[in-house]
């Protein structure tokens, strides 16, 4: 019934880091394309988990369907690769059934925000203790490069050959409006900062969402004339974002059109499983 005990905090230099501790043997190379950002994010996630001090048995990693959603197959936890868009619903079942598990959801922008958008907002609303890592590459990678709900307007994709006309979602805005109690953004480029942000998300009690900008060089990159994965990281992740810590110090023209990085929202409202235990189960038993 009780939530995972807050593990002891150990400070250590995170690299070089022994990833093998958390990787399943003989599963690499992963299926991701050369230069795909998903691998960079995965590494930050593993370092953050290590820092959190949870044991491998305490952690459950759940995903939907997509390139990003292949993550659980590589990592040595309780892992579940579910259906496209439904990762959060499966995860909600696991968490509510066994609140002592630390459940981390790995999902793509398509998985979380297209087909899975409803589960995303309802998860945030309930504030159930799930850590949701959205790998936002602005495209459907797995199916070969169709536009996603985060594809910037005007961009090319296999289904927007004349340029996308749809305004992209801001996953952080959505998470906040729907009630998530921890909302942050990171990028694959800012990998140490990302590690810290994910760690903070894991340690938070309640729904924590981290929107992670990373690159799909194979589809988004090629179709939108980026020269390389590096080029994408520089343009979209380095130059396309600004840290919340710096935003006040910068002139407006340096901020305009950029995504904010860092912890964007945090409040301490009651977590769902705890509420269930204290408000529902207690009352029910009393009756």
């Amino acid at each position: 019934m009780s939530a995972p005990a807050a593990p002891e905090k150990k400070e250590k230099i995170s690299v070089p880091f022994d990833y093998n501790k958390y990787l399943r043997p003989n599963k690499l190379p992963h299926i991701w394309c050369p230069g795909c950002g998903h691998g960079i994010v995965l590494k930050a996630m593993l370092r953050a988990i290590d820092k959190s001090g949870f044991s491998k048995d305490q952690i459950c990693v759940v995903s939907g369907i997509g390139c990003s959603s292949r993550t659980p197959g590589y990592v040595d936890f309780n892992t579940l690769h579910t259906l496209h868009g439904r990762a959060l619903s499966f995860a909600t079942g696991i968490k509510l059934a066994k609140p002592e598990l630390k459940v981390i959801v790995v999902t793509g922008d398509g998985d979380a925000l297209a087909i899975g958008g409803n589960h995303f907002i309802h998860t945030c609303r309930r504030n159930i203790d799930l850590t949701v890592l959205v790998f936002t590459n602005a495209i459907y990678g797995m199916t070969g490069g169709q536009y996603s709900p985060t594809t910037p307007m005007g961009s090319q994709a296999t289904t927007s050959r004349y340029g996308s006309i749809e305004k992209p979602f801001d996953a952080c805005e959505m998470a906040k409006a729907s009630g998530a109690s921890f909302v942050a953004r990171g990028t694959a480029y800012h990998t140490l900062e990302l590690e810290k942000t994910i760690h903070e998300a894991i340690m938070h009690k309640g729904t924590s969402v981290v929107d992670i900008i990373d690159a799909c060089p194979t589809y988004f990159g090629r179709m939108n004339k980026y020269k390389s994965a590096t080029h994408m990281m520089e343009v979209l992740e380095k130059d396309g974002t600004v840290s919340v810590k710096q935003v006040d110090k910068l002139p407006p023209e340096k901020v305009q059109g950029k995504f904010l990085r860092g912890v964007l929202h945090k409040d301490e409202r009651p977590e769902y499983c705890e509420q269930y235990a204290s408000l529902i189960m207690e009352k029910a038993k009393a009756k």
């Binding site: 190379p29 394309c33 050369p34 691998g39 590494k43 694959a188 480029y189 994965a229």
Partner: protein, 68 residues
């Protein structure tokens, strides 16, 4: 201390089986230590390595690590 470190060269471990030759580490290495040879990464100038770890941090494929 800087000199002492300079003496002992770092150990850049490359896993050629895993490297996909994306060139991210090459591009981000501030001191131009690495290069792509054939289809995988290789060390070009070990002495220039500052142990900044950026290659490891940004490699998506668990293919490169830098040890003392």
């Amino acid at each position: 201390m800087a000199e002492a470190a300079a003496k002992k060269l770092p150990n850049i471990v490359i896993n050629e089986r895993l490297c996909k030759g994306c060139s991210i580490c090459v591009d981000f290495c501030p001191t131009n230590v690495l290069e792509i040879r054939g289809s995988v990464v290789a060390v070009k100038d070990l002495a220039a390595c500052t142990r900044c770890q950026l290659c490891d941090l940004r490699c998506p494929d668990f293919a490169i690590q830098v040890f003392d």
